[in-house]
Structure formats: C-alpha cells, structure tokens
Symmetry: C2
Subunit: 353 residues, 2 copies
DNA sequence: GCACCGTGCTCACAAAACAGT
DNA sequence: GACTGTTTTGTGAGCACGGTG
C-alpha cells in the first residue's frame, strides 16, 4: 500500500508527463498517435500511462476539440428483431471505430418525444445522429428540427439532407415473389408494412413488378403495422379469398399472425395457401409450418451505417454503398398451389409444377 | 437574415449573459434552477436563452462538475424481446431523469469485448454502469474489472458490490407451475434457461418448490439457452417421455421450439402435453396453439433500474425495491392432462379433471 | 520542450442592493 | 444614519486538455 495515492485522485495528463519526464504535450502526442515522437519516449510515456491507470478525460477533450467522438442513435417503435439487431451491430461497428453511441429509444415517435431526445443528444455534442425508425413519420419529425449535425437514416432514401442506408428491400421482395411464381402461383396477395415506411413501400413495389413481369395481376395489397396482430386481422379477411393461393408478407411476425388466422379458418399452409415472410427472425424456423422467408443481413446493415457515417464525417459525401440483397430461405410454408380450381384466373403463360 | 451571426458560432453562456444584461453566473443560476434569482431577471435570462437557441455544453459542465450525467448500458446476447424491452424502457426512464445513456451492446460476452466496452464507457466518465446480460458469465467478467463506478445488474442478486434489480422470477415460476398443477398435471417437466443466468435458476427453484408443495416429484430439468432451437432439441427428447403431460418452459422462444418438436413427433399440444412459457412476447398470442405464458413487466423493470440507480448515485444504498411478479396469461397451450394412462406415476393426492 | 492561451462552465467568494432595526 | 442580516448579483479561479509560438 503506497501512501502517495491517499487522495485517490485520478491521474491527469500532467501526472503522466511528470512520471515519464516529458511535457504534457508529448503525452498528448502519444495519446493521439501523432508522429514525431521518438519510439523510446513514446514507450516511456505509454509505460507511465499504464502505471498510473491514466485515461484521458473525454469531457476535456470534447471541450477543446469540439468533437465528442459520440454518435446519437434514435430508435422508435417496438423492439423488434430487425431494428434491434441493426442497432446492436451498428453499435459494434461504432465501437470498433472508437466511437461511443448515445442511445435514445422510444416506443412512440411523436414530435415532442423526438424533440426532447434530439435535444438531449445535441447537448452531448454528438457528431451525427442515426435514425432507425419503424415509421417514416419519425424521419419527418426529425427533419423539422434543426439538427446542426449530419443525419443518417435507415431508409430507402431520396430525402434531401438525409444520408440513407438500407438493405435492398426491392430485390428481396422480387426474389420472394419470384419464388412463389416459380412454384406455380398466379394469385399472390401481399400484406405490407405501414406505408410511411420506405422498407414497406419498396417491398410493395417489388411485389408489383414481379407480378407484372410474369404477366400476373396484382390485387390491392393489405396494409399492416408489422405486428402479428395485424397479420392475424388481415388473415381473417384473406381466409375467405379462395382465388388466392399465396401471400407475400412484409415481415415474419405478420406471417405468424396470418398463418394463425388461415389455419383457424380451416385453410392449410402450405396445402391451400403458401406464405412467404421477410426478415428470418430466429423464431421463423419453428413456426408451424417452418416459415419460408427472406433473410436480411442486419449485421451488414449495421456496418454499412457506420461506413456511411464515417464517410460523411470525413466529408466524403455520397459513399452510396451497394445495397445488400436479402437471401431466400426455403422452409415449409410455401409450396406449389393446389390444383387449379374454377374461378382461378390466369392472365398469361403456363406454369408446370 | 441578421448578419451578426455570420460566423454561425454556437452561443455560449456569456452571449446569453450579455444579451440579458446580467453576469454569466446569473445565467448559470437560472440554468440550474438555483434560488435567489429575482423572477424578473430569471425571465430576462430565459428569454435570451430562447432567442439565442442556447444549449449549455455538456462537455464543459462535465469537466468542472466531474459528473457526466450519462449512464453506461451494457447488453450482451441476442436482441431478444425481454432484454431489448428492458433496455428501451430503462432508456426512457433515464431520459426522464435527464440522464444520457451510452450503449455497449454485444452478441458475445467474452472478457475481452467486455473489457473494451467498459473502458470505452469509463472514458466517457459514465456515472454508473447498467448490465443487462443473458448469461451471468458477463457479470463475472465485469466484476473482475475495476470499475470505479457503481454497477447495477438485472440479476436476482446476492453478489457483493453489485446492485441488483429484477422481476420476481421465482413467483412467476410458481404461478406457472401452480397453474399446471391446478389443471391436474402431476408429471411436469421443465426446460430452463442457461444455469449461469439467475433468472433461469430462480425459475428452476420456483418449479421445484411448487412441485414439492403439491407433493409431486421433480424429474431432472433440461437446460436450454433461451433459443427456439434449444427448445426444439429438448422437445425431440421429451416427445418420447410418455409419462410427462406438461412442460414449464423458461421462455416463449424455447416454447415455440418445443411445440414444434412435440407436434412433429405426433404429440398434440395441449391434447397430449400442455406447455406454458415465460415472457409473453408479442408473437406468443399467435403460436399454434396460442401460448399460455407468464407476462413480464419489462416497462416496470426498466423504471426500477433507474430508480435503483438514482438511489445509488445519491448514496442511499439498498433501496431494495419490491420485485414485480409476472402475471399469468391463459391462452390455449395448457389444458387438463389426458386421462390417466398405465405407467403414469403419481406420488400423492388425486386430481379430478 | 516550455509557457501560455482558449474551450464553456461551476464553484467559492466578494460585492452590491435592500430590509429592518 | 450607522449597524446587522438577508437576498441578489458579479468576479476570478480552475477543471483537463489541445494548440501556438
């Protein structure tokens, strides 16, 4: 037990400098990995740092550099698998880049809560704000606030002043619907996410285009809100539609609700109707039946957010990352349609099963 | 467009003071809600603040007060509904208390990643660290690091140096098992979470005690890892156990896997075996069959964490909050046992169905 | 390497201002 | 009108660091 540290004071840069026999400036150089420090002195300083268990004060550094090395992360909506995973992996990527992440999660995305969250983040001098929102309403609300820092949003994009990062929802939707078409389906309905989500509208667009490309007709789609409950509600309606033989659903949770409603109404999945979901949540494999779905690479998305962010901070605008395409995971909820029934309409082409 | 703000410099406390015709100290008093400021001057200052869109610099404040008003939040494991919800509601509560939350989420909880995360948080001068971990291994790893700040863990508790907050897992487990017993089951198995999770062991204890209280015998329980896949694996084994008529499962995800395995093996739920889960995730209502489960109040837990945290920071140790009990949600996965079969053992008592 | 300044703020203290003897 | 007490306001130092000459 030494008795110099009675005061238990935390070491500062001058203590380190004294112990290493250099000026505080040299310590600063070492801390910031600047050149023009002799290896020998660098070593002495590092040893002193270790010995004193010195950690530079982020507050002081932020004060003088006006750079906090922290990013604000706003998430809205339920803690679903997709957003949560994205946030987790983004956080990982940020940590790798030695950035801290200050979080502001909220269930609702009303303008007032959002404003409060933004102000709290801004007060911490975050260098940028990342938004992972279930509804685009949150984006609009944030855009109405003067941020003063760059905004990166997980969003299909196209808004002025927003740097968007996203997975290729359109390609994913096309792959999903093409899979159903390949199985021989011609009457493919769609339950989408809320239309103020660009993820949702991109999937709607993909569904439409795939149908059109196959010469099939797109009936109006049903709009859900990502929850199993909304899938269930729409399922109760769809169960009565005996023309339709397949449903492309905007996410796995709604698929679960849909399957529940369908089987409750006596329609078998995939015997009577095929269902294909989106996301590949961990539960999907154990649905009854195991869900065929599109797997999303949330890990990659999280990293892409950070990549874009770093580019923006370095002022290398428009990194324009290639968007990662979801991949098809074939399980048991989608199969060939039941034998053609009277009333089933086909616009063109023949499909062999 | 005024032309005084050409430099677009952010206003500081002196700018506000000048505009309001007072000293910077008076502004500080207003900012911190200190007494002894005449209402009239307070008003003048507030007006100036609004006019200049002034926000105090957290960095400068932290530098001098040595209080960052930020909390470090470490989460490990998959972004499951429970932990994610808890984190979200904690974040909400922290924001209400005007605390920022710096997050460090990671999939794995190896000592190295954990140490890196802790160091990043400490460098930001977090005033406390909150841990929401799927495995107690993370807690052990963190305890081996000298933090220098209080640690609050979501954990059943009992560790020295850790402030624990938790829901009443024991009571929840007892209620679940008592429900099964009340339905007439006598052979009730248990699939638990990983044993280095106190949530898991508390539920095991509740299961044991409820069986003992009813004079029933507890067969060895099966240890899962919270994932649907582990529920499925154990389910494949349990499907061959024709004595057992009910399973109490450590969470809803494993219940899903279990039901999948059971029904795949031709055993009907709840006709042949009843299943009761834990958590009440949003999907549970739409499982096939809809899952009877214990609902956990993650919102309350998140608030409790913050309450405990504030008490600890005020040095009012040992707040010892009453633990919220989960509530039973009866759906369709648990019913009375099938009529007694030869080979079914009963230790005591008779049960009428 | 050294001395010194700037960062935006809080704290301890000093100086007013005002009230009641 | 000088003396004390209380409230309100102002002044200067210092927090730990990065930059400049």
């Amino acid at each position: 037990m030494t008795n110099e540290d009675e005061k238990a004071r935390v070491a500062n840069i001058f203590d380190v400098a004294r112990l290493a026999g250099v000026s505080h400036q040299t310590v600063s150089r070492v801390l910031n990995d600047l050149p023009n420090v002799r290896p020998a002195t660098r070593e002495r300083v590092e040893k002193a740092i270790k010995q004193l268990r010195y950690t530079p004060s982020q507050a002081a550094r932020a004060l003088v550099t006006r750079r906090s090395r922290t990013i604000g992360l706003i998430t809205t909506g339920n803690p679903d698998f997709g957003p949560s995973s994205t946030a987790l992996h983004f956080n990982d990527a940020a940590r790798d880049a030695r950035y801290a992440v200050s979080m502001a999660s909220m269930l609702d995305s009303d303008a007032a809560s959002l404003r409060a969250a933004v102000e709290l983040l801004l007060r911490q001098n975050v260098e940028a704000i990342v938004l992972i929102a279930a509804h685009a309403g949150a984006l609009d609300a944030i855009l109405s606030i003067e941020l003063g820092v760059p905004l990166i949003a997980v969003d299909a994009g196209g808004r002025p002043g927003v740097h968007s990062v996203a997975l290729d929802q359109y390609a994913g939707a096309r792959a999903a619907v093409d899979h159903l078409i390949g199985l021989g389906h011609t009457q493919i309905r769609h339950i989408s996410g809320p239309l103020d989500s660009t993820d949702a509208t991109e999937r709607v667009r993909g569904w439409r285009d795939s149908l059109a490309a196959a010469g099939l007709v797109a009936r109006e789609h049903l709009v859900g809100d990502w929850t199993p409950a909304s899938g269930y509600r729409h399922g109760q309606v769809l169960a009565d539609d005996h023309d339709m033989t397949a449903v492309f659903v905007g996410n796995d949770q709604m698929s679960l609700g849909l399957i529940h409603a369908l089987t409750s109404a006596g329609r078998r999945v995939p015997g009577d109707v095929s269902v294909i979901g989106f996301d590949d949540i961990p539960e999907a494999e154990h649905f009854a039946p195991p869900l065929t779905t599109m797997r999303q690479d949330f890990d990659g998305l999280g990293r892409d957010i950070m990549t874009e962010l770093l580019a923006v901070l370095r002022d290398e605008e428009a990194a324009d990352l290639p968007r990662i395409s979801p991949t098809l995971v074939v399980r048991e909820s989608a199969g060939p349609p039941p034998v053609a029934r009277a009333g089933a309409t086909r616009l063109s082409g023949t499909v062999d099963v």
